[in-house]
Amino acid sequence: MPINAVGREVPSEINGQKFKPFAGDMKTPPEGRRAGSLIRMAPRGRSKIVNSIEEVIKKVGLEDGMTVSFHHHLRNGDYVVNMVMKTIEKMGFKDIRVFPTALFPIHEPLVPMLKNGVIRRIEGSMNGPVGEATSYGAMRETAVLRSHSGRVRAVESGEVHIDVAFIAAPTADPYGNLNGVDGPSACGPLAYAMVDAYHADHVVAITDHIVPYPAHPISIYQHNVDYVVPVEKIGDPQGIMSGTLRITTSPSRLRIARYALEVIERVALKPGFSFQAGAGGISLAVTKFLGDVMRKKGIKASFINGGVTKYVVDMLHEGLVDVVLDGQAFDLDAVKSLKEDPNHIETPLAMYGNPYSSGTITSMLDAGVLGATEVDIDFNVNVNTHSDGLLLHGIGGHQEVAAGSALTIITVPLYRYRVPVIRERVTTVTTPGEVVDVVVTERGIAINPKRDDIIEAMRGSKVPIWDIQDLQKKAYQICGKPEEPKTTDEIIAAILWRDGTIIDVVYKVKK
C-alpha cells in the first residue's frame, strides 16, 4: 500500500473504487466535469404529496444495492433516517448504501441492519453507536468518511451517485418548496441537503409541517423535489436544538479560551476581520470573550461563519459583526435570527470549503478555532477516533476550516481524565499538521514552526510558549504512556481529505 504525505499507509482501492493517497492540501488537481442527475418531467397536478414512505419508495423505484441519502440538520432529534430505513428493511430491500451527512446516537436502530444485510455500507459521519459497531466489524463493506465539503465534492464529481435523497423538511408546501426555519421541528438552514437535492435522481421531502404554496423563505426549490410525504413528526425538538448552550465553567478550559483569545488578538484581530465559530464549550467562550474585546476596542468584524449560536446572533444584533454565514444552527435564537434578519444568510455547503469549486467561504476566514480528540508532535489532528481506536465522531467542517483559515487554532486540554491529548502520533489523521498553526492548551501554546509570523506576533506575550514536544512530554509525565490500541489489520473505514484523497484509514478494534 502507498504511504501518503502524512506518513500513513493507505490502500489505493476502497469498495472497488480507486482513490489517490493524500498528497498535501491543494496538491491533487480535479479532473472531469460535474456529474448530473436524472432529468425528470414536472407532474401534471399541483401537488406532489404522497401519503406514505412505503408508497414513495415504490414510486421512486428503489432497488437492492442503491444509494439513499439524508442530512443531519435534525441531529440527535432526527426521526427520518430510522423511519425510512425501517420501511426499506420491511419492504425487503438488501445491500443499500446509506449516504448521510451524519448519524447520531438516535440512529442506533441502523446497527442491526448492518448485520442483516439491509445496509452494505455507510458513507458519512457516524457519531456514537453506529461508529462503535462499525469499529468492531459490523459493516460488511468499508465505511467512507468525508468532511462537509468533501461530501459535496464527492457528489459533484460523481464519486458518489445518489439514487434517492430523503430530505427531512421542517416546512414544505405541497409542490416541494422547503425551508428549515418554521414548523414544530425547525432546525434553521437546510444547507447540508442542497447538494443532494441538485444531484440525486429522485428527491423526496419528508415533513410534519405543510404550508400553502409557495412556502417561504425557500431553501430547497420545487424544481428539485419530486415528492412530499407528510408524517406525524420528523423529529424531537429536544434533540434538534441544543437548548441554551453554556460556556465552559471549568477553570482550565477557560484558561484555554483566554490563551486562544490572546493569539487571535495579536495575529488576526483588525477592523473587518472574520472568524469561524463553533458550539463546543471552549469555542463558545472564545466567541464571547472575543465579542467583549471587540466592544472594548471598537472593532467590528465583517463576518462570522458558523455553527451559529445565540452568542453569534447577539454579536450580529449588537452590530459587532456585519454578516453571519450559516450552515448549521445550534439553538432557537439562531433559527429565529436566520428567519428574520437579512444579514444572517444561509449558505450552501458547496460554497463552504470545497476545494474543487470556484471559491470557498473558509478561505476568506482570518481565524478559526477548532477542537480535537488528539493532536500529535507533527501538529496532525484527530477528530474521528478515540485513543483506544474506536471510530466515534465525524469530520464535520474541521478540514476545510483548518485548510482555509489564515490562522487555525486547535484548542485542547493537555489530557482528558487520564488520556493524553497531545501525543507522539495521533491514532487517526483527520487534518494534517501543514494546515494547523497554533495548538492551545491550559499549560500554554505551541506554534507550528513554519509560522514565523505568529511566533513574531506572540513575542512579549505572557502566554507560555512551548515546543509541541514539550507539551507532549508533559502530558505523558502526568498520565503515563498509554498502551497502543488493540486493532487488527482489517480496514473498517477510510478517512478522506476534503479533496477526496485518502488521509488515513481506521482499523477494526478487538473486543
Binding site: D388, G389, Y417, R418, C479, P485
Partner: protein, 81 residues
C-alpha cells in the same frame, strides 16, 4: 468492608474486604489504554495484603489512584486493629 474514593469521572473507588485469599479486581473505563499500568500500581501498593481488593476506575491519574489506595489501606489497617 472499607472504601476510599468516589465514582466521579477522573476519580477511582477502592474497596477492600476480608477474604480467605488475596484477590484483585480492576474495572476501568480506560482498560485498553491503562489496564496494565493500573494493575501494576495496585499490585505494588497492596503487596502483602491478603484481602479482596476491588478497584473501579473512572479515568484517575496514577497519583490519584495511589492516594485512594493508600487511604483505603490505612482504613483497612485501622479496622483490623
Amino acid at each position: 468492608m472499607i472504601s476510599a474514593g468516589t465514582t466521579e469521572k477522573g476519580d477511582v473507588l477502592v474497596k477492600i474486604e476480608n477474604s480467605e485469599k488475596r484477590e484483585i479486581i480492576v474495572n476501568s473505563k480506560l482498560e485498553r489504554l491503562y489496564g496494565k499500568a493500573i494493575r501494576a500500581t495496585v499490585e505494588e501498593m497492596t503487596e502483602g495484603i491478603d484481602a479482596k481488593i476491588t478497584v473501579e476506575d473512572f479515568g484517575a491519574l496514577d497519583w490519584v489512584l495511589r492516594a485512594r489506595l493508600e487511604a483505603a489501606i490505612r482504613k483497612y489497617g485501622g479496622e483490623k486493629e
